[in-house]
Symmetry: C2
């Protein structure tokens, strides 16, 4: 498993001439790093009497951030597996018409899975961005730059994941699936635009 | 060392209630992930006859990307060490006037180091962003989303690092240092704005 590798070995494997792991896994990792940082800011806030009024809200943010961090970390490996399944489908035999049809169906199924996966990463990263922005506003101000970085990581992971959705959509034939997915992508981008602008404005106010 | 930890353990440690590692280390990691992904795209381009015309340029990008990935990975630990040195300086004795002066000097020195480090991370991440944009334009188009994600990671690492520069500047008293550093920050942001916009435009053209 990728997330069981040492960070340095993971970087080495990433830089290698094997296409997997690639940008999809790194986008999930960025989202997970954002979730972990947001959780840290929560932990540095909880129990501090200066922030007594927001304790219960920060506790709720922490629970969600920890969960999203775990989910997104699992997607680091799941994205690479989804990519490998597409590659496996392309290797299926195509000698007879029957084999051709079965291969084509397998490719389409694997492609949809390989598009759904980063779509989920983008949705989870959007949630991390929202939590990071909130904890930047109400959490421990000594950790403001950490909360801001959490939001930047989530924003980068979200857009990276959407590139992976789009590149897979290019090979998918199901028009209804394409239309529905494009609508979801558009909605995620709109929400990200708003939350990202808010994060930058809050960070400029708090950090400078 | 942080980069010798397993990815999953690193995420766990990051989310803990200890302020280090924090956003500074994660910004360096994001830049390093960008460097590694850019290097992968180079390796998937070199030796492919379709890209014969750009071989020597891509080889040069690869050399630089590998070097930046290593440099930025070392900054993951160096940033946390720099933060810990600031904390150590604050713990110095302050009973006598002499001790107070020595402590204040040690804090200022540690703070400048803790600001210089992410400034270097931002500069290296800017280089990664430039390389990622170039390899997105001329490299293997099958890895276009990987090159785009490499650029997004570098851009996020750069801004994350600059938040860490700014937050440390707030505790530094040397006006000449502050002015010089703010000028560098401004220049990095200007170059990033340009390169990031170019990356997004190229990605929109190539990926959709």
């Amino acid at each position: 498993m990728l997330i069981q590798m040492k960070v340095n070995d993971f970087l080495e494997e990433l830089a290698s001439n094997s296409p997997a792991p690639g940008g999809g896994s790194i986008s999930a990792l960025a989202g997970s790093l954002g979730g972990a940082l947001a959780a840290m800011v929560c932990r540095l806030t909880i129990g501090n009497s200066k922030y007594a009024e927001v304790q219960s809200e920060v506790e709720a943010i922490l629970t969600e951030a920890d969960q999203l961090r775990g989910e997104l970390a699992r997607c680091v490996d799941a994205d690479t597996e989804a990519f490998n399944k597409v590659m496996d489908a392309y290797k299926l035999p195509k000698a007879t018409d029957e084999e051709k049809a079965a291969r084509s169906k397998a490719i389409q199924q694997a492609m949809q899975h390989a598009a759904n996966l980063p779509l989920g990463v983008a949705e989870s990263s959007l949630k991390v961005l929202k939590l990071a922005g909130r904890v930047l506003s109400i959490g421990n101000s000594n950790a403001a730059s950490d909360a801001a970085v959490a939001g930047l990581m989530a924003h980068a992971g979200l857009h990276g994941a959407l590139y992976n959705v789009k590149i897979n959509l290019g090979s998918i034939k199901d028009e209804a699936y394409i239309t529905a997915t494009q609508a979801k992508v558009k909605e995620i981008i709109e929400q990200d635009n708003k939350l990202h602008a808010e994060l930058l404005a809050t960070a400029a106010k708090v950090i400078g």
